[in-house]
Subunit: 162 residues, 2 copies
């Protein structure tokens, strides 16, 4: 067993059946500069590097009009995360454990990441954005206009978060 | 065919294979006051009615610590939505069509709703929140602390959205 899947002190895994309540399409693939977890930022920056959302057919036509939005919400599938932990001890929490739903850890029953990103450009079937914090080749499951209307442009320019 | 699944003028459906790239757990069930789409609000209000997130086993232990957060991000599965439209003409858009990814419509390849809600209380295995806009009995797929740190309390008190 790799160190990635070992349990830390206080962590609790459950015996869950195989998931089959609903199924997802991977509608595309995310290209980022990060190829290992160690170099991937914990939280994306709206001033971070440009990343690419490569959309697969038959979904490319669904991009029409996307360039009208300054910020998008991106959903992706954290396919390297285990799904059976209900209590976790994140690396930066000094050994304290917390319930999975009280954390934004990628380890969760349904490992879906949600990020708000800044729209940069549309190039054919690829959307360029800033603000992601996931590994290169992460499967994309959705993108839509962001609803976080209170994000002031000036404030987000100086924040490393969202 | 019901009127819900008829195409409007300009809408485009694609011939997509069955989705099977990844599978989801329904980790719980959302209880809201709305039992038909006509009465469901288009966008939740943080001052709206209290709704209940009923968590199923074996995931209840994952709630530990959730009460420390004022706002949560809730992900749910819009199980009544069709999944094959790439261009849509939403009811309030006066016949204009737009790409699915340029809309927050529930009709999308992966019909996942994302809402920011206000935490109200934890009662056993049920989380009480305000701010949802989905039908009663909607399957729940995730909840986690919200990252929309720029939402000022005063502003959200007077807004009907986000």
């Amino acid at each position: 067993m790799s160190t990635d899947t070992d349990l830390r002190s206080g962590e609790v895994a459950v015996d869950a059946p195989l998931p089959r309540d609903a199924s997802l399409y991977f509608i595309g693939r995310i290209r980022t500069p990060w190829t290992s977890r160690l170099e991937t930022p914990r939280q994306g920056s709206l001033e971070g590097p440009v990343c690419r959302l490569e959309i697969f057919e038959p979904w490319v036509a669904a991009l029409q009009g996307i360039e009208g939005f300054s910020h998008l919400q991106v959903l992706y599938w954290l396919n390297q995360a285990r799904r059976d932990l209900v209590r976790q001890s994140p690396r930066h929490h000094d050994g304290e454990t917390r319930g999975t739903f009280a954390l934004r850890s990628p380890v969760r029953p349904n490992p879906i990441g949600v990020s708000t990103v800044r729209f940069v450009a549309l190039e054919g079937s690829t959307v360029l954005v800033r603000g992601l914090d996931c590994l290169d080749q992460t499967p994309l499951i959705d993108l839509k206009p962001d609803r976080c209307v209170f994000t002031p442009e000036a404030a987000s320019d100086h924040d490393d978060g969202k």
